[in-house]
Amino acid sequence: MNEFTAPSIDWSALSPVLVSLGGAVVVLLVSLFLPVRIRRGFGAVVASVCFLAAGAAAIALFAADETGRGIVADALRRDRLAELAEIFVMGAGLLTVGVSFRERGGGDRAGEYYALLLTAASGMAFFVSASNLMTLFLGLEWFSICLYVLTAIAVERLSGLEAGLKYLIVGSFGSAVLLFGSALVYGATGAIGFEQIAAGTDDAERLFVVAGLAMILVGLAFKASAAPFHMWTPDVYEGAPTPITGFMSAATKVAALVVTLRVLVTVFPSEAELWTVALAVIVCISLAWGNLAALVQTNVKRMLAYSSISHAGFLLMAIAAGNALGGRALLYYLIAYSAVSVGSFAVVAIRERELAGPVTLASLAGFGWERPFLGTSMALFMFGFIGLPPAGIFLGKFYVFSAVIDRGWTWLAIVGVVATVVSVYYYAGVIRAMFMQRRELAVVAAGGSPPTDRALVAAVAVAVVVTIGSFVAADPLLEIARDAVALLPFPEG
């Protein structure tokens, strides 16, 4: 029998994953022994501390790692791309804790809720540093399963159960497609490490490599909720607890898109001509479908779900450019996009708690005058989604468009501009509903004066700061984004 040598494990490099996972175990076990009324507070405190610690660990690693390195026998890769994505995920998790704090009901499940949130973030941190096909699939399943359960965690709500089941079935299908693709790529090249596959594709049977590439791309597009693989998105976003929807739309997207970028650029550099065109097609479908379907929505969560599909289009456009400028644009865009998305779902969450029912455009009437800070923030987030100047998405879109123009695809940038113009209608519709609906149409909030919710307001305030901050401090953030993608082997430039 062969001699076995245990891989040396660099524990500090794994710290963002381990801290959040350890926190999850603590929350899960300790809250069982606590009285129900303090479980939520305990879970929220531990989760916040863990997200902060994991984020700080990721920042420290980002500062230290000039060059990437493989860890745990090259199954995972530490580089600035992974660490930056971990910082985004942990930040989104921290804000989600604030948004969830006053969520109604489920006090006895609070331990599970925060434990699953931490585990999901931990899985995403693992996923973004995956460096072979096995860890890729493992990470994908790890965070997906947590999200399936979180979607259905409010078991009294039928829509939540429906959403959880749909997400489970469609998500598992996506994972299975990705796994099948991985098997084909492994079969063709005999390697599972990303770099080994890239080195082996030249002598491999091209049919299997291309089929594997297509299936891996489909699996990742499911997670990024890009059309035509978006069917689950509106129902799941609508049925899931609103704080979780915010977390999914920010953190899942970060994880899925960063991994898409890494896999396509590192594993399939020889097929770059193919996947850039495939992505351009997915981008066009996502932009068209997302924007057109969002126009007719009256439920705000559903509208934001379609908006998230169209933003998946913009984000994939950055990858479709297939150059370093595109990679930079993607990461910069994700900063602003995550903040805007968590923030807007936070505002929807508080309105939902006031009304004890779904938030529609009609039931937003007068919200801007009742809650000036939250209303103004929501207006800012809507301007942000459109891509207007006080928010960082403005520059994000600008860089995405310049990346595709740099590639010579001016037509794709024009598609993006048209999609942006169409999107003005439904984003502005929210602002109109909040500020310009006539008073007599305004819905009276149920149960007297609205409850104060400092944690949620603080989370919205942080989201506002990041949204505007990413615009004001664009230069340093672009530097960071450039460092993060510096090690990826882009085919050109």
């Binding site: 029998m1 001699e3 076995f4 245990a6 175990v25 899960l28 076990l29 069982l32 022994f33």
Partner: protein
């Protein structure tokens, strides 16, 4: 030719023995139930003329309602059962891999223990 056959037999002999045993067990059950049966063929009451005297009634099965606890317990059993199966491969290579395997083994058991404590405290093992 003969050498090849012998070599194949060498490799597959344990499976041959296994297959013989696998066939012998159900075969002997059928055989002995006929050989040792004490019933008289003629004038036997109806119950005795059925293949198995004390078996399940041949009527249509009644619709039964299982308690939810049954499914929960069964699922938990499968989870822990399958996890325990993973211990076998570790046990086989323990002498090769050495203390690392033992440490991983312990860690794995610890994770199972956490899950067990969780399931227990959450009341999933109570029969309702």
């Amino acid at each position: 030719m003969q050498g090849v056959l012998l070599a194949a037999l060498d490799d597959w002999f344990p499976f041959l023995v296994y297959a013989l045993f696998a066939a012998a067990i159900p075969g002997s059950m059928l055989l002995f139930s006929f050989a040792l049966s004490t019933r008289r063929k003629e004038r036997a009451p109806r119950a005795q003329r059925m293949p198995f005297e004390s078996g399940v009634s041949t009527g249509p099965p009644k619709l039964q309602r299982f308690t939810v606890s049954f499914y929960l317990t069964a699922m938990l059993f499968i989870v822990f059962d399958i996890e325990i199966v993973f211990l076998y491969p570790v046990a086989v290579v323990l002498d090769v891999v050495g203390p690392f395997a033992l440490a991983e083994f312990g860690f794995f058991i610890a994770i199972l223990a956490i899950a067990y404590v969780y399931v227990w405290k959450r009341g999933a093992l109570e029969w309702r």
